[in-house]
């Protein structure tokens, strides 16, 4: 319906009601949220209904602070691990395991700047900002906005020495559309049997992210850069073995003011050389930020950010070379998970608390005649059918040593549309490992990013991991007629097109608009449309397998394949009850 055009339709009353969760006031990782939509709400519009909740992040005690948010691309959706939809009578209508991984596919491939902004305003995703922008040709990031975040307050552009702690975190209100078949259906939902939602929250080690601008292993050239110890127009180095308690930051990457600087007071930092990858640190303990301020007279009155550390530290690592040095420039990164010279040894366990959980339901008032007619039909023994496009997750693991794998899937749907296979990294990682991306899968090698970019999202997203080719085999036929090569994508600096051609068809059939393929390296998805246009495919009684070959460079990671099969599901609603047809 256009804003200006008018159509003649029957009048339908629309109101929004708020239904609080039933089983608690607040929730934490791993807990379950129950919400019931009572039968009294006879009709509602699922797609305009959404989950409203507040989330607050708490830093781990006895650890250094940093700016944390939820997943940069899916925001609050990362909190939902599994979701089930029942009738009030207990009939299971939908069950989705690995909900957040499915949403990561939806949000990565159905994405553009407008939609990301929309999600940033309402769902707690992060965004780009002109306040922090790269000047060294790095890949653009949507996870650099520490200036305007729903999770914590920003700082002003004045000397800043107040330690960053839990008081700086705020409750973020998030409005999350639920990406289940029923709740993404365009058609109104006849709620004669009531609905009950069960939402299982995700574990802590999956959901948190640091800014890209403080991470050593992702878009390093976007980090602040060491200028000098002297802050002069003839910048000096921090020689290995010498002491200092202050250093200056170059104006690169928009580090022109205290509010632009992505690190916080109390955060541990280290330096890494962009040419040698050598680290600079103190052996005994981490260098911790005490004060951040702009010295207007530095660098011949051009001004520089000066960082004062909480102590005088000896540089026990490599020399930190100054800006413009031929021996390599040095970037600053967050070392909260390191202990002195030891990298990644500290545990780091932030937590989240979810509260004020409500389901905002778009309730509809149908005309009395409409309702009477429906009730009469039901009383006469008729039934109502309600179709919706849903999906189920079939999971299977393969080992890192499996260079050829055959994934068999016992699909049992009469009206399947497509399948999306997401090979996630099943390595068990601590929060510290996820945040720092140490030993994570490297998804691309963009020369301007200096080093390969590592996966920041842990086990949430798919990884190519040197996959060379794949092919589906179903109904005793190989599809397509030849293996689909992914060698160029796995090489991390090129593109194979056929996987994207197949993925596009699969996404369309799954009801996901393929507006973007920019995630093709960082979120590997193998797709196959089982039917085209408005058609369906009957999987029942037919074999189905995915054949994978990792026959080039051996893979590095064990993988959990989340195979989401999108299909039309039917609810048969009668006066006596409801049944589900797959």
């Amino acid at each position: 319906m256009s804003f200006w055009t008018s159509e003649e339709k029957i009048s339908i009353g629309q109101t929004k009601v708020s239904i609080p969760s039933e089983n608690g006031l607040s929730y934490s990782a791993g807990q379950k949220i129950d919400i019931t939509i009572p039968r009294e709400i006879q009709f509602f519009q699922p797609k305009e209904s959404y989950l409203s909740l507040d989330v607050e992040i708490s830093l781990p005690s006895a650890r250094k602070p940093t700016r944390l948010s939820l997943d940069e691309y899916i925001g609050g959706q990362v909190l939902i691990k599994d979701i089930r939809v029942y009738t009030q009578g207990g009939t299971l209508l939908e069950e989705i395991q690995g909900y957040n991984t499915a949403v990561s596919v939806m949000y990565d491939y159905d994405s553009n700047e407008n939609i990301r902004n929309k999600r940033a305003m309402t769902e707690g995703t992060t965004s780009a900002t002109s306040f922090y922008r790269g000047t060294d040709g790095s890949t653009q990031s949507d996870n650099v906005n520490h200036i305007n975040s729903p999770y914590y307050v920003g700082v002003e552009n004045s000397a800043y020495s107040d330690p960053f702690d839990d008081d700086d975190y705020t409750k973020a209100k998030l409005l999350l559309p639920l990406h289940t078949g029923i709740f993404q259906n365009d058609k109104i939902f006849p709620n004669s049997m009531g609905l009950r939602l069960e939402i299982v929250l995700e574990d802590n080690n999956i959901v948190f992210r640091q800014l890209d601008s403080v991470n050593k292993n992702n878009k390093l050239s976007l980090n602040p850069k060491f200028h000098s110890l002297n802050g002069s127009s003839a910048p000096d180095e921090w020689t290995s073995g010498s002491d200092s308690n202050v250093f200056y930051v170059a104006r690169d990457n928009q580090n022109i003011g205290v509010d632009n600087f992505p690190f916080v007071v109390g955060e541990a930092i280290k330096f890494v050389n962009d040419t040698t990858a050598n680290l600079s640190y103190n052996n005994a303990s981490n260098m911790v930020i005490d004060t951040v301020e702009v010295i207007a007279t530095a660098d011949d009155n051009k001004g520089l950010i000066r960082v004062t550390l909480d102590d005088t530290y000896t540089n026990n690592g490599s020399t930190v070379f100054p800006l413009g040095s031929a021996s390599g420039e040095c970037y600053i990164y967050s070392a909260n998970f390191d202990n002195g010279s030891d990298v990644g040894v500290l545990s780091y366990n932030p937590t989240f608390t979810v509260s004020n959980v409500e389901l905002i339901v778009q309730k509809l008032e149908m005309p009395d005649g409409y309702k009477n007619q429906m009730n009469q039909m039901m009383r006469e023994g008729g039934s109502m059918v309600y179709d919706f496009l849903s999906y189920s997750n079939y999971r299977q693991t393969i080992l890192a040593s499996d260079t050829v794998a055959n994934i068999n899937l016992p699909l049992n749907f009469s009206r399947a549309k497509s399948i999306l296979c997401v090979p996630t990294d099943s390595t068990v990682r601590t929060t510290a490992k996820v945040l720092s991306c140490e030993d994570a899968y490297e998804y691309n090698e963009e020369s301007t990013d200096i080093s390969a970019n590592a996966n920041t999202r842990g086990s949430l997203v798919g990884i190519w991991d040197n996959l060379q080719n794949y092919q589906f085999n179903y109904n005793n036929r190989l599809q397509p007629s030849r293996k689909i090569s992914c060698a160029k994508i796995s090489a991390k600096n090129s593109i194979d097109q056929q996987p994207l051609v197949e993925l596009e068809k699969a996404l369309v059939q799954a009801g996901i608009q393929p507006r973007s393929f920019r995630a093709f390296q960082r979120n590997a998805v193998i797709g196959r449309a089982l039917a085209l246009q408005d058609g369906v495919y009957d999987c029942r009684g037919k074999s189905f397998s995915l054949q994978l070959e990792y026959t080039g460079t051996p893979p590095d990671f064990p993988k959990l394949f989340n195979n989401y099969v999108f299909h039309l599901r039917r609810l048969n609603i009668t006066a006596d009850g409801i049944s589900v047809e797959l």
Binding site: R251, P480, S481
Partner: protein
């Protein structure tokens, strides 16, 4: 017990009761079965070219099933050692000079200077889609971002947080700020020396397929796709970074050119019944006829030209003037541009005349109006910034893209026009006259390209294809 598959649609009458109606129920109220119980099977066949060379490719498609119009051609370059990339505006479409769809010796669809035509078509892709999607699928990269003053010598008070100074092409990378200039590059995976593979949709090659699907199983003769490629050393395949050696030969990887065709199958009895019931199928569609003329600036100042169309049902006239300079590869858009007069009075005036009357009562001079006329003709807006369209505003940055100033590359470089023929009549024997006044193009030789969109009819009678003008 009766089973009601679909809820009745209802309306409220004046008396307040409700009765069924077909039309006034909002679509989302129509609870019921999604109209999709139709079992569709399809198989994806990967075709190699039956004839291949650096100037010509021919594919033969099997006569099975129904051809899915969004099937794809995939193609890549090989052996590129220079810093080179596909032109920003057309991407991989630069490779194809002519696209022909044939069956049984009859030409269903053929577009000349297809790469130039795609430069016009590419204007209708939203900039967001170019950056997010097209850059990776077809190497088209026309999207924009704000550019800020970030030069290294500027002070903290001079570098603004939000005050931009210009607009620049958005490639997905931040600009690289040097001591005295700023340069934008593109991601490594788009560079030709990494041999990325790109795709071209069959529906883009042959707009006929946007409106029709070909029932291959009903055709007696095989379907051929013939693609004439631009010359390997024509300087029009790729664009190169400043300082790279010009005039190199850039080869298509002939071992890696494929057609990925989806053949759709409905239940056999349905397909047979359809074939039996449709001994003759008539498909109407639009094809494009090219008329070209060489011009020098003085001629372009006042040019009246008959562009053909006599006796045809022509729906649209599309035109633009591009520079013939033999240095296409030194430009980000290559030669796939339509130039706005950037000297003299910097004005344009034009009109179209057919069947004894002009389309516009007064010659059109307002360039923003010309932009809107494209929207009227195409039914969708072109996504071109003002500076690129009519050279106004001076907002494109002078900073670099692959060694060359962006404003020199993109200013006034996408000045296409389109006119919808408004009478709904067949064009008379006199044809269509195009009146253009470009005051004035800068020196050099130009080509004015005019595509006429006209109606064609194809019939398939007992498996034999015939094609004629509408």
């Amino acid at each position: 017990m009766s089973e009601i598959v679909e809820t009745q649609e209802m309306e409220t009458t004046i008396q307040g009761d409700v009765k069924p109606t077909q039309s006034n129920v909002p679509d989302l109220v129509k609870i019921g079965s999604i109209p999709s119980n139709l079992q569709i099977d399809y198989d994806t066949t990967v075709y190699e070219p039956v004839t291949k060379s650096q100037s010509f490719l021919r594919f033969q498609i099997d006569n099975k099933g129904i051809l899915h119009s969004n099937s794809k051609l995939t193609i890549s370059m090989t052996g590129v050692t220079e810093s080179a990339f596909f032109p920003f505006g057309v991407g991989v479409n630069s490779l194809i000079e002519r696209a022909t769809l044939k069956c049984g010796g009859k030409t269903l669809s053929e577009i000349d200077d297809w790469n130039h035509y795609m430069a016009y078509r590419s204007m209708f892709i939203a900039a967001e889609n170019n950056k997010e999607r097209e850059s990776i699928t077809t190497a088209r990269l026309m999207s924009y971002q704000l550019e800020y003053n970030n030069i290294k010598s500027a002070s903290t008070t001079e570098i603004p947080n939000t005050k931009a100074q210009a607009i620049a092409v958005d490639t997905g990378l931040y600009p690289s700020v040097g001591a005295s200039n700023t340069e934008t590059l593109m991601p490594d995976y788009l560079l030709a020396d990494n041999a990325p593979v790109f795709q071209i949709s069959l529906a883009d090659l042959f707009p006929f397929l946007k409106m029709n699907q070909i029932p291959l199983y009903m055709m007696r003769d095989p379907l051929f796709v013939e693609l004439t490629l631009v010359g390997a050393n024509s300087k029009n395949r790729l664009s190169i970074q400043a300082g790279e050696t010009t005039g190199q030969t850039y080869n298509v990887d002939l071992n890696n050119v494929h057609m990925i065709i989806d053949h759709i199958y409905y239940p056999p009895e349905q397909m047979e019944a359809f074939a039996a019931a449709n001994q003759q199928i008539t498909l109407s569609y639009h094809d494009y006829n090219l008329s070209k003329q060489s011009l020098v600036p003085s001629q372009a100042k006042n040019n009246i030209r008959n562009v053909g169309g006599a006796g045809r049902i022509v729906t649209k006239v599309i035109h633009g003037i591009s520079n013939n300079a033999n240095d296409g590869e030194t430009q980000a858009l290559n030669n796939f541009q339509a130039e706005y007069p950037n000297t003299g009075n910097n004005t344009v005036e034009l009109n179209v005349r057919y069947n004894n009357s002009f389309i516009y009562p007064i010659d059109v001079k307002n360039t923003a109006r010309l932009y809107n006329l494209i929207t009227t003709a195409e039914g969708m807006t072109p996504f071109v910034p003002r500076d690129s369209y009519n050279d106004e505003g001076n907002s494109i940055t002078s900073n670099l893209i692959y060694g060359r100033q962006q404003n020199a590359q993109f200013k006034g470089a996408m000045f296409y026009q389109a006119h919808r023929l408004h009478k709904g009549e067949r064009v008379s024997g006199k044809g269509i006259d195009l009146y253009t006044k470009y005051d004035e193009l800068s020196g050099g030789n130009y080509t004015q390209r005019v595509w006429l969109e006209y109606l064609k009819i194809a019939t398939i009678t007992n498996g034999v294809l015939d094609v004629y003008n509408g």
